[in-house]
């Protein structure tokens, strides 16, 4: 697979400060532009969605995972493969609903929020909402692509 040969199995190393500060600048600029936390949350979700529909191709090419047979497997792949690959962290999966169709991902060391302290006037801001959008976009694309296993 040419994509894997170019990138190798290791992702390029870079310091995370620029990444964290870029995301922070993005969020604060959105806050200044929209002045309303709800609108900022929506914009972050939209941006994340656009990232997700593209990122899923990269993810599938690099990770070579097969089709997930149930939702629990999907949760595992998201937490242990995807988050590990792109953010270097493995969130924990908790809080499964009784029907097994909802769960929570808890991010202990989210690199997006290093050094960030939300001021009181932004109490309803969902700072990492971009990640929610990414997940939404990626999973919707999977549904549309009906990806089938390689081997």
């Amino acid at each position: 697979m040419s994509r894997q040969a170019n990138r190798g199995t290791e992702s390029k190393k870079m310091s995370s400060e620029l990444f964290t500060l870029t995301y922070g600048a993005l969020v604060t600029q959105l806050c200044k532009d929209y002045e309303n936390d709800e609108d900022v949350n929506k914009q972050l979700d939209k941006m994340g969605y656009n990232i997700g529909v593209r990122l899923i191709e990269d993810f599938l090419a690099r990770s070579n995972v097969g089709r997930c047979h149930d939702f629990r497997e999907t949760a595992d792949v998201i937490a242990k493969v995807a988050f590990k690959m792109y953010l270097g962290i493995t969130p924990s999966i908790t809080n499964w609903s009784p029907a097994g169709d909802e769960f929570s991902l808890i991010l202990e060391n989210n690199p997006l929020v290093d050094f960030v302290e939300l001021p009181d006037n932004h109490s309803s801001l969902i700072y990492s909402n971009l990640l929610c959008g990414v997940l939404r976009g990626a999973l919707e694309m999977i549904r549309k692509l009906r990806y089938t296993a390689n081997a």
């Binding site: 400060e17 964290t20 500060l21 995301y23 922070g24 600048a25 969020v27 604060t28 290093d114 050094f115 960030v116 302290e117 939300l118 001021p119 932004h122």
Partner: protein
């Protein structure tokens, strides 16, 4: 400038001679403390101009004991970005050694850098970070 007086120690950060952060532990004499802080700024400026261009080394960022009065000792530290940190401790606190003061300034400098990285903090604002307050509190507890 509002400040809460706590025991006999204080930490102040200045940017271009106006305060970004003041935290002190209660003393009886507020006015004297104000005066001391401003004269210490003058001493810091004097030391910086005396040092000239050689301000790259960590050891030279630490300015040391600025001047001892009969009640207090004042220590200074300046960053490459010209932010000045001033620490005032009670003279009766003889247990504090020079390298302890240096490590406290280093911690302050690191916490200040973290505050700067907060995207919601605008450079020049008063510092209102919970993490920074927590670090200063633990330092004050150590000193007093």
């Amino acid at each position: 400038m509002e400040w809460f007086l706590v025991t006999s120690a204080a930490v102040i950060l200045f940017l271009q001679n106006y305060p970004l952060y003041i935290r002190s532990v209660p003393t009886e004499n507020e006015l004297k403390f104000h005066y001391m802080v401003h004269t210490s700024l003058d001493v810091v400026d004097e030391k910086i101009s005396a040092m000239g261009k050689a301000l790259v080394d960590q050891r030279e960022l630490y300015l040391g004991l600025l001047y001892p009065t009969e009640d207090y000792k004042v220590y200074g530290y300046v960053t490459n970005s010209k932010v000045k940190f001033v620490m005032v401790v009670d003279s009766s606190n003889t247990a504090l050694r020079d390298n302890e003061i240096r490590s406290m300034f280093r911690k302050l400098h690191n916490s200040y850098t973290d505050v700067m990285c907060n995207p919601f903090y605008n450079p020049g604002d008063r510092i209102q970070s919970r993490a920074f307050d927590g670090m200063v509190t633990s330092m004050m507890i150590q000193v007093c």
